[in-house]
């Protein structure tokens, strides 16, 4: 199928994009990489009157590091993240995650801003932002808003972005020396959206977690920063603690049923991810085998 007719406007600056958005409101859609928007248009699931192409705004495609603070422009492509030495150094979680996002040709056009704004609950990057405690920076007619990633995602394809706002950048805070990360997802095939996934950042102190941010995806309407981590912090992890964490996790997730996985299966997979994460981050292969989850 072919896309329905729409008007097209090229924005050459953030301000111009916001002006266009203000003028057309929710009759307009921002076009970034188009890797989610175009399929929806081609399937005639959407019929916006206007597409506002932010591709030409050069300064939205950038990765910079200042004082350890990593800033990623909204139009930075998945492939840029994958290749960037700065990302590898300051947010290795993203580098691991991005390999699971779609396929090479899609990563060449899909952007981080598009991925976050699209807010597919099975998407990797939103969950990574939550794990990394990133800040999403949006701009609208009234100026800039800085929204913690954990608050940015509201529901399925739903974020705090208002129709006249543009997501412009993401800030990832400085990474501490002892920081470790874990990324894993269960998908049917390489590049598919996940049935369940976990992006995690931790600080490890000897054989204990000093901090642990567990961001689950595809197991709720949005990425979930699991409070179950509290069962695992500050003490050497035991089987009992891990079992408690697994138990607590169930109350925090509200997965959906689809062709690939039932609700129960998603709960189950989330527990397996949690166990795998703890085993991997602490190097405790003894833990995994015996925890019944």
């Amino acid at each position: 199928m072919k896309a329905p007719a729409f008007n097209y406007a090229r924005a050459s600056s953030v301000q111009e994009a916001i002006d266009l958005l203000s003028r057309h409101g929710d009759r307009a859609k921002v076009l970034s990489g188009g890797q989610s928007l175009m399929p929806a248009l081609n399937l005639r699931l959407l019929a916006p009157e206007w597409l506002i192409d932010i591709g030409p705004i050069a300064d939205l495609r950038r990765i910079s590091v200042e004082n350890g603070l990593l800033t990623i422009g909204a139009s930075t492509r998945h492939a840029d993240l994958q290749r960037s030495p700065d990302i590898a150094a300051h947010a290795p979680l993203l580098k691991d995650a991005i390999a699971h996002v779609a396929h090479p040709a899609i990563r060449n056009r899909g952007t981080i801003g598009g991925s976050l704004a699209h807010a597919d609950p099975a998407s990797e990057l939103p969950a990574c932002m939550v794990a990394l405690d990133a800040t999403v920076i949006v701009q609208g007619p009234d100026g800039e808003r800085r929204i913690p990633a954990a608050d940015f995602f509201v529901g399925i394809y739903e974020t705090q972005l208002l129709p006249d706002e543009l997501l412009v950048a993401i800030e990832v805070p400085k990474r501490t020396d002892g920081a470790r990360h874990f990324f894993r997802e269960y998908a049917r095939r390489s590049g598919d959206y996940a049935m369940a996934g976990l992006a995690a950042e931790a600080e490890i102190d000897g054989d204990m977690f000093a901090s642990l941010r567990l961001s689950f995806f595809a197991v709720d309407e949005r990425p979930i920063l699991a409070k179950a981590s509290r069962h695992l912090i500050g003490r050497p992890v035991t089987e009992v603690m891990l079992a408690e964490a697994c138990g607590a996790l169930g109350d925090e997730l509200a997965p959906q049923d689809d062709h690939q996985a039932t609700i129960g299966m998603r709960h189950y997979l989330a527990r397996q991810l949690l166990i795998a994460c703890v085993v991997s981050l602490l190097g405790r292969s003894d833990l995994g085998a015996r925890v019944v989850a």
Binding site: A5, Y8, D53, P104, A105
Partner: protein
């Protein structure tokens, strides 16, 4: 504007000026407006990979890009890559190894394969399979395609020595 708008771009080293409706995707532009029918369309929703072309050196899905977005871009299709000789060795390897049957996936497979070989001169079979993970082939079962790419890798390494 819903009405056609002018675009200028380079396609296979040729400067093209055209009027395109905003909703026209690049695949249809190449096929229907420029008669470059070597770029194939298998799904129009970004999954099959048959429409893969190169834009400014990167492989992309041409069904997921508007023709207008190619303003000022350099677009290369299978016809261009064939004429320039850039992938002659890959094509020969595909031919020798019977790495295509119906050939509908082939232009895109060649694009994806060449993309891999430009960034990784010595990929493993698994890496080859992974790089092709977004390109569907119903006929071959992929094995022969992987073989053909592998043999091209070896030949290129030998030539480089």
């Amino acid at each position: 504007m819903i009405a056609p708008v002018p675009i200028t771009l380079i396609v296979n080293q040729e400067r093209i000026e055209a009027m395109v409706p905003p909703r026209l995707n690049l695949a249809d532009f190449l096929r229907d407006h420029l008669s470059l029918t070597g770029t194939h369309v298998g799904c129009e929703h970004g999954v099959c990979g048959a429409c893969t072309v190169r834009v400014n050196g990167d492989i992309v899905r041409s069904c997921l890009m508007l023709a207008i977005q190619a303003e000022n871009a350099t677009v290369e299709t299978i016809e261009g890559l064939s004429d320039s000789g850039e992938i002659a060795d890959l094509q020969m390897a595909f031919h020798q190894r019977n790495a295509l049957q119906c050939g509908f996936c082939t232009p895109a497979m060649l694009m994806a394969a060449q993309d891999l070989l430009l960034i990784n001169s010595e990929p493993s079979r698994d890496q080859i399979r992974e790089h092709l993970s977004g390109n569907y082939c119903r006929c071959t079962g992929y094995h022969a395609i992987v073989d053909a790419i592998e043999s091209t890798v070896r030949a290129r390494l030998e030539r480089a020595e």
